[in-house]
Amino acid sequence: MTATERTHPPILKVANAAISYETRYGDVEAVRDVSFDVHRAQTFGVVGESGCGKSTVAFGIVDFLGPNGKIVGGSIKFQGQELVGRSQEELRKLRGDQISMVYQDPMQALNPSVTIGDQLAEVLTVHRGIPKDEAWKKSINMLDRVYMPDSANVMNRYPHQISGGQQQRVVIAMALLNNPALLIMDEPTTALDVTVEAVVLDLIEDLKHDFDTAIVYITHDLGVVARVCNFVGVMYAGEMVEVGSVESIYGNPLHPYTQGLMRCVPKLGATKESSILYPIRGRVPAPKDRPKGACIFAPRCDYATDRCYNEKPSLRQIEAGHNARCFYSEEIDAEGWEPPKGLVPEITPVVEEAEREPIIRLQNLKTYYEQESSSLLSLVGAAEPMYVKAVDDVSLEVPPGKTLGIVGESGCGKSTLAKTIIGLETPRSGEAEFLGFDITAPVSQRDVDLIEELQMVFQNPDSTMNPSYSVGQQIGRPLRRFKAVPGDQVRQEVIRLLNAVRLDGSYYSRLPRQLSGGEKQRVGIARAFASRPDLVLCDEPVSALDVSVQAAVLNLLMEIQNEYDTTMMFIAHDLSVVRFFSDYVAVMYLGHLVEIGPAEEIYAPPYQPYTEALLSAVPIPDPTADQKHIRLSGTVPSALNPPSGCVFHTRCPRRDLLPDGGKICELETPPWQYNSEEHRIYCHIPIEELRKMEPVVTSR
């Protein structure tokens, strides 16, 4: 803390706050003993896994806890005034227009039937009584300050007419219109694509300086925290377990939970061979099961002693400005940590066999969706049909036993590609071969023996299992259907599969609603592997999971792949996870493959310009890492009418490398350039030029 900060009182001072909710089981304490200060022009990050009370803290500050929630202890001081224990009316006066909030989903924060201009101007006319046209001018001004392109025109549009990133910018502009002293942001970039997220994060970074605002930033993403925050509070099970500056928390985590979290996150620089993810064993206790008078993390802690179970540690200063809630912070040496036995799988490296034939081969695959037109001509069948080119001209192959990661922003055709391979969509043209068999036919026309070899793991843990049937029935179904084992052995086989995904036999008769998200995802994996398929498609299997659970599920997938020698196609938007998990990586943009090759070559120069932009947008959980600053302008064009030539030319930041500003990019489709036998790049820029690029990320 600098001297000036010390002389000014904090904007927000939370001391020992406790918040509880009334439920059917009595009062449940969701948050207890939370203390932190936020100063002017500072961003305080609150991180933690889902259900640990981050959002409850935010809602507690503005008292939006709902009818059943209340602050039961401690104090929350805003600009020196106590907020706890005041009536709604007093709070409204105290808060006035001084606290603003930004939520996760911009579409829910904006009124879809009112123009953006009216929504923005209303903030000023209602709160400040400013005349309408002056408010309008100020709103345009504010949109400019959040870097909204074409701000005067945007004022007349409706929220659905602008992109998600722009919507979030409007929400932030709205929050800033009153020049609040405190801005609370609850996962403001979680719903956005990585390239859009990067732009919004840059904006948030600038806000601190431009507006002199104190920001409370709530997120689950350690990478985002490292990028935008000055100070960080780590929450676990409703308590703040560690508070400190971002450098000290990432450089020298003091609490075993923070240390565990850091070990769970795949680093962008890490490869499958060089890094291991260490999940935190056990799971976060439910609010009603949290131990009283003991360290809440003790059951999952590797350093726990009897004292931890009998006495509650307090948040105490370990280093200057760095506090942790642990008895042994001084003694614990995070570097010397040894994983307990059985925490991570022992992967035996696959012995490289002589060149094996690719297990799956796609050649110029195209999947189009016909767009229904509402014109009169189309009614009589005379209109030219319109197509959404979801997958356009994709060629790739995967060697057996390897993993191909497919990355790209939402709407780039990753999922359609998976659906085409699995047979839920029929390709319009092109070839697709799997084990030498043609797989362009829909799944209903495929042979059962072929279906059996091609299975899928899904994204959403809450809908991957049918809520009406028990775990055993659902894993047993593919076994029965494909006659993988004789009928009387199905039960044993199911239990064996459950054990393989680290669940014990007692899960056999449980219903999905009795399982946690990670457990459901494990059952989904067991179901996909039940028929011992040769190829498993994973569609964002960990994106909905918390980091510690994510690490466990990724380890599990790797272990099973190793055991069954399965080939995998792994679709994800998180480039760090893909790097960690894949042998090969394919990058997609607007239905096209733009780069494919071995993972380590994708993450090092030469890059396709889009890959470069993606990599420079990834939030890295390391505040000291150097990352190139490349931001894409504009939005992804419509796949209904993709740009001519190279599909990326409308947003490409590297066209200036070509003579006359890359005229050729608009006119001709680029050639495939080979960097190595397996690594090819779809770009007009000569490979020699691309090779000269600097690496995007360099760790110091």
Partner: protein, 308 residues
């Protein structure tokens, strides 16, 4: 309800099944109105089942010495114009509605006419709704437009057309209730299907290459059961109402069988001459049963959505 039951694959271990059933039932007791509704319904089911033990008379027994009487010790609810005991006619009338379906003079099925009508409607309506919602395309267009056309007819008119065409008997009333109920059930099931078909577990089944019928009846239907059961409760109420209407119009069960609707129709002419009893009691019976079913359905849907 019956449909989902039939298509459940292997049943889970016995204790967990019972426990689950109990968990499902215990929701009812959370809601006061559901309990009140249930008590009314159970009262009518009870008197219908034990009708012969609850009255010394038969519903057709005439006593010419006691016509159009008010309640007395001998006749607890009074008598009608032919001297028949109203209590006996009322509770025997409940039998046809709730606990038995006379197919021929000598053969009858358990469960009442109203319930069979709704079950048949559920079977047909759910199948059509599932097909429309899951298969989509022209199947959806054809099925739903036909059902829309049926919905364009006023309900009473539709009942009268059907009964006039096939004749008045208990089985034909079942048929009429089913036909009239089908479009509404199909619409409900279709909308639920459209939602459920987007879930990952349906895609997982498609990836396994399961047949559309398996997906519709095994993967989708059981997860739509909550709203379907609530809707079915309400529909049993409508069906009882419809049976009353048909009986009143002379299209119900042939006399002298104790039919609530025709009891009202016959008793109606004596209301102003000082004997309202013959018309009053069956009206109260129909009203209370419909209200009971509505309360029960309301409470059930309220509680089941609260814990989802």
């Amino acid at each position: 309800m019956a449909v989902s039951e039939q298509t459940m694959p292997e049943t889970a271990a016995q204790p967990s099944r019972l426990k689950r059933l109990w968990e499902g039932l215990s929701i009812i007791f959370e809601s006061k109105i559901a309990v009140i509704g249930l008590i009314i319904i159970l009262f009518w089911i009870f008197v219908a089942i034990f009708a012969p033990l609850l009255t010394p008379y038969t519903p057709t027994e005439q006593d010419y010495t006691a016509q159009n009487q008010g309640p007395s010790v001998k006749h607890p609810l009074g008598t009608d114009s032919l001297g028949r005991d109203l209590w006996a006619r009322l509770i025997y009338g409940a039998r046809v509605v709730l606990v038995m379906l006379p197919v021929t003079d000598t053969f009858w099925l358990p469960l009442g006419t109203a319930i069979w009508g709704v079950l048949l409607g559920l079977l047909v309506g759910s199948t059509l709704g599932l097909m429309g919602g899951y298969l989509g395309g022209w199947v959806d267009e054809v099925v739903m437009r036909l059902l829309d056309a049926m919905m364009a007819f006023p309900v009473v008119l539709l009942y009268m057309i059907i009964i006039a065409a096939v004749g008045a008997s208990a089985t034909n009333v079942v048929l009429a209730i089913a036909i009239v109920g089908t479009p509404g059930i199909a619409r409900l099931v279709r909308s639920l299907t459209l939602d459920i078909r987007t879930r990952d577990y349906v895609r997982a089944a498609e990836v396994r290459g399961e047949s559309p019928w398996y997906i519709m009846f095994v993967e989708i239907l059981p997860n739509a059961r909550g709203p379907i059961i609530v809707d079915a409760m309400l529909r049993v109420g409508y069906a009882i109402f419809a049976m009353g209407t048909l009986g009143f119009l002379g299209l119900g069960l042939p006399p002298p069988s104790p039919d609530w609707g025709s009891m009202v129709a016959k008793g109606r002419q004596y209301i102003l001459s000082g004997s309202p009893w013959a018309a009053l009691w069956p009206s109260v019976a129909i009203g209370s049963l419909v209200v009971g079913l509505n309360l029960f359905a309301d409470g059930l849907s309220e509680e089941s959505t609260r814990y989802q």
